[in-house]
Symmetry: C2
Subunit: 243 residues, 2 copies
């Protein structure tokens, strides 16, 4: 069923009035009166509607049912990634939105080779990717994509979550499944993954001092764009959000 986030939409007495790009989108989809659609408020509530009319300017739909969006996970996971090169950011955003991330943040760390060129311009594009993925996968929110800054700011964000996981490839680490199983009731979590070259030892040391769980995902070396999706999927699985 076509899904809209309430960009140009008003709800008035059981009717949804769609304008701007939402109305345009209804027209592009060639929807006919009587067909159903979902308008999501972006805060976890879905308005199931039936189209009444549609023209160039606006579309009107009757609200049939108001429900909690079933696709939102019980845990809010903030995915924090060392800025990778090229379009790997896009891939991370799209896949993490599908997999249930609450928000996605990029940051600079010691071994980042990518340069955060014109981040404001990129943020706009990144947010559009998140919105498309949210629509397509039936999410109840549009996960925010933002810029976390440098590594100390990342640690600052992470320590405020119920559970903070720092994915690291070497040295003394906890097994990801042991940590997740012991924290299956967390309502917020941070998952931190590195850029192409991984994290420097001093970054792992800092994370440990801050009380983060230094975690292993096994002996297979995951690419920097694969690791966040795999870790997030593990978190969703462990908290019962993949069934």
């Amino acid at each position: 069923m076509p899904r809209f986030f309430m960009a140009g939409t008003n709800l008035l007495g059981g009717m949804a009035i769609m304008r701007g790009r939402d109305a345009e989108h209804v027209r592009v989809l060639r929807m006919r009166p009587g067909e159903e659609l979902i308008i999501c408020d972006g805060q976890g509530t879905d308005y199931k509607c039936r189209l009444v009319s549609s023209d160039k300017e606006q579309a009107e739909a009757e609200v049939i049912e108001v429900v909690k969006c079933p696709a939102e996970p019980s845990i809010k996971v903030t995915v924090l990634c060392g800025l990778p090169k090229g379009d790997r950011t896009d891939y991370i955003i799209q896949k993490c939105v599908e997999a249930g991330a609450y928000e996605i943040m990029f940051f600079m760390s010691d071994r980042c080779v990518a340069k955060p060129d014109k981040p404001e311009k990129k943020l706009e594009r990144w947010q559009r990717i998140a919105e498309e993925a949210a629509k397509q996968s039936g999410r109840g929110i549009i996960p925010q994509v933002s810029w976390a800054g440098d590594f100390t700011q990342v640690l600052d964000i992470a320590v405020k979550k119920d559970l903070a996981l720092f994915m690291y490839e070497t040295g003394e680490r906890e097994a990801l499944n042991a940590v997740l199983d012991a924290n299956a009731n967390a309502s917020t979590a941070a998952i931190i993954t590195g850029p192409e070259g991984g994290f420097a030892q001093f970054e792992a040391d800092m994370a440990k001092v801050c009380g983060l769980h230094i975690c292993s995902m096994g002996e297979r070396i995951l690419r920097c764009e694969t690791a966040p999706v795999v870790a997030l999927t593990a978190a969703m699985y462990a908290t019962g959000n993949l069934s």
Copy 2:
């Protein structure tokens, strides 16, 4: 550490003689005598070596240690995917190899829109992608990429595994985590995912009749190239292969 699968390599009395593209690769990496490398036999055994000499024709390395490749999962998962459009195949292969697939197969199902154009030619390219991903992620085998044929052949392959999971988006399904937790000791598994348009109801019915587990991965709708990676990651997590 650079990793090679034994394409043009012979092991003779504690020495590894590398020829052809392996020797070429050593040269391209500008490795110097004394540097270490791993030669994997592609069947789960790693030969840790120290380079002795390298020229245009061949490289010689001394075997220091022979170990079981630590990256191979305890469960052999065959990932079977309805043929998607364009380069989504490449993405599936690369990510599933990283995530620990034993082999990857594509097939035609009712709603496939992609046409299996010159599959022999594609198989060669697909296998190269698998090899690159296996090297990069430190795998002990190069997962085979192959063509499973049509949907009945897929069922035939799946029923021979200890555990056969059919990922489906609608109707009566088992929760993926319940099925995986109840079968954590399986040594072989099949994970079946659909093409862009998903599976037809009759295909799900056939899978059920054949005794496959019809599984849900929650309410988020995953793209056809995301679903196999997420399902495989869940299987790795549940069987203790992600820690």
